[in-house]
């Protein structure tokens, strides 16, 4: 098996997939901690469907650069979804469901009318290990540098805004700006990551690592660090499994995430019980 794995890294496209996949997973996980804790995780799901619709239209009109065509649309959708979630009058969850199913429907209709359901559309829906081009890798690296720099520089503000927006606003933090930065970076991460993960599965990268690390970690800092590590580990092992056993890439990464979540949940429950006994004594 190890020979196989070593052989795997002799293919350029696989090295690209591993680098791109883990960087995207890292970005998604860092952004995901804040989104999940603010109960915004469905925004990620909504955005990925919008991304699919946009890419299908880009393919239909033969846009030279489908990614550059899709990114602004997804960014606009991100700001829009954020506004909906903040406005208590419209119920956020139904609005997100409306937007995501509508985009998916538009995407599939456009794709079928123009070319039929070709392999390209299929890989945007479910992801593909060979999808990452040289240019995508550069986008991934730039994106992850921005996300990590933002996390380090604004860490305490992100914590304050995530934990308690009203307090943060009352003490003079411009919470809306941080919300918008997070929504903007989420939109970018999702659109770029869709190629490898598929639009139906990309939101798992946002949700799983945060939820998994929250089973065990009790501090915000450790949740953030742990999510990053989990995300990278799962995406690398998912890609290796996908290569070795010829399983679909996105699905393999999601399934490794599911396994880790189970392990963390069980460990968390056991350690909570032990702690509870300690305190009751």
């Amino acid at each position: 098996m190890f020979d196989e794995i070593i052989k795997m890294f002799s293919y350029d496209f696989l090295i690209r997939a591993v680098i791109g996949g883990s960087l995207i997973a890292l970005c998604a996980a860092l952004l995901g901690v804040s989104l999940v804790l603010k109960r915004y995780s469905m925004i990620g799901d909504g955005l990925s469907h919008v991304g699919f619709g946009a890419l299908a239209i880009a393919a239909a009109v033969n846009a030279a650069a489908p990614l550059e065509f899709a990114i602004p649309i997804v960014v606009i959708a991100a700001f829009f979804l954020l506004r909906i979630s903040e406005n208590s009058k419209i119920k956020g969850d139904s609005a997100i469901a409306i937007i995501s199913t509508a985009s998916l429907a538009i995407g599939i209709t456009v794709a079928t009318m123009t070319k039929g359901m070709n392999a390209d559309i299929n890989s945007y829906l479910f992801g593909s290990i060979i999808a990452m081009s040289q240019k995508d890798i550069i986008i991934c690296i730039v994106l992850s540098v921005i996300v990590i720099a933002m996390y380090i520089f604004f860490y305490h503000k992100i914590f304050a805004v995530t934990f308690d927006e009203s307090f943060a606003k009352a003490t003079g933090t411009k919470a809306n700006i941080y919300n918008m930065i997070i929504a903007f970076l989420t939109a970018l991460t999702i659109t770029v990551g869709m190629k490898i993960m598929g639009s139906l599965l990309i939101s798992s990268l946002i949700i799983f690592p945060a939820i998994t690390s929250m089973r065990i970690c009790k501090r915000f800092k450790t949740v953030v660090i742990c999510s990053g590590i989990i995300a990278v580990l799962c995406s690398i092992s998912g890609l290796i499994i996908s290569y070795l056993y010829n399983t679909p890439t996105g699905a393999s990464i999601v399934l490794t995430n599911v396994c880790l979540l189970l392990v963390f949940s069980i460990t968390g429950t056991i350690s909570d019980k032990i702690n509870a006994k300690k305190f009751s004594k």
């Binding site: 603010k38 009203s166 800092k221």
Partner: protein, 237 residues
């Protein structure tokens, strides 16, 4: 000069006016309770005092060098917060954010102030515990410590005893009273509990449409609005 002064202030919420021509002032060391029924505009007024919502009419001024972001605010808890993975220290330290400006990290002084406030509220033994593992009363103490990190002068508390059992509620009231009497911290508290408000507060603001009352607690008990409430209450007892 008053810490906070409201002159002829009006607020509207979704195009209907909830507060009209409100006048009151809060001085250093006061303990003001804002009472009133649901929908009387308490939350709107709080947002106005914090500077998160601008008044439709009139003006709210701050005196005594009180800066806009220098109010120690204790908001109502959101459901998302109850299971938030953060240590007590992390939460309390986040109260120092207003001293940071654009600087990304906390200074030694900030950390010391956070530790001091943790000790002040008797939660030092919880410092490393996770916020989500604490009881409701302990969580409120943590948030109060955070509010104290943000301001030495004034605390604005939005229904701080919601969901607490009677014993913990009494503890919380005593703690707030101590901060007010011993450390001369100005308190503005939104409350549903008129009896406790009258027991501890020096001033009462009763929002009630046209029959709004503002004055000292002694005057409030004698006023028609206050009397109406107390007669009802006494009959029930």
């Amino acid at each position: 000069m008053a810490l906070i002064k409201c002159e002829n202030v009006s607020f509207s919420y979704e195009n209907t006016s909830v507060i009209k021509n409100l006048n009151f002032e809060v001085n250093q060391g006061d303990y003001l309770c804002i009472v009133g029924e649901n929908g009387s505009g308490k939350s709107t007024l709080i947002k106005g005092i914090l500077g998160l919502k601008s008044a439709a009419d009139g003006k709210i001024t701050r005196g005594d060098g009180l800066k806009k972001n220098e109010t120690g605010y204790l908001p109502q808890q959101t459901p998302a917060q109850k299971d938030f993975p953060a240590s007590v220290y992390e939460v309390v330290l986040s109260g120092r954010l207003n001293s940071r400006g654009l600087k990304p990290f906390y200074s030694k002084t900030d950390k010391q102030i956070a530790r001091d406030n943790i000790k002040r509220l008797n939660i030092a033994h919880l410092e490393k515990r996770s916020y989500r593992d604490l009881s409701g009363g302990q969580q409120q103490r943590v948030l109060l410590a955070r509010a104290l990190c943000a301001s030495k002068k004034i605390l604005l508390l939005d229904e701080p005893v919601t969901g607490l059992d009677p014993i913990v509620t009494e503890d919380m009231y005593k703690l707030i009273d101590e901060l007010n009497k011993k450390e001369n911290i100005t308190i503005i508290m939104v409350s549903h509990d008129i009896k406790s408000s009258v027991k501890y507060a020096t001033h009462i603001l009763h929002l009630n449409g046209d029959k709004t009352f503002f004055g000292t607690t002694a005057d409030y008990i004698k006023s028609p609005v206050g009397k109406a409430f107390f007669l009802e209450d006494n009959e029930n007892v």
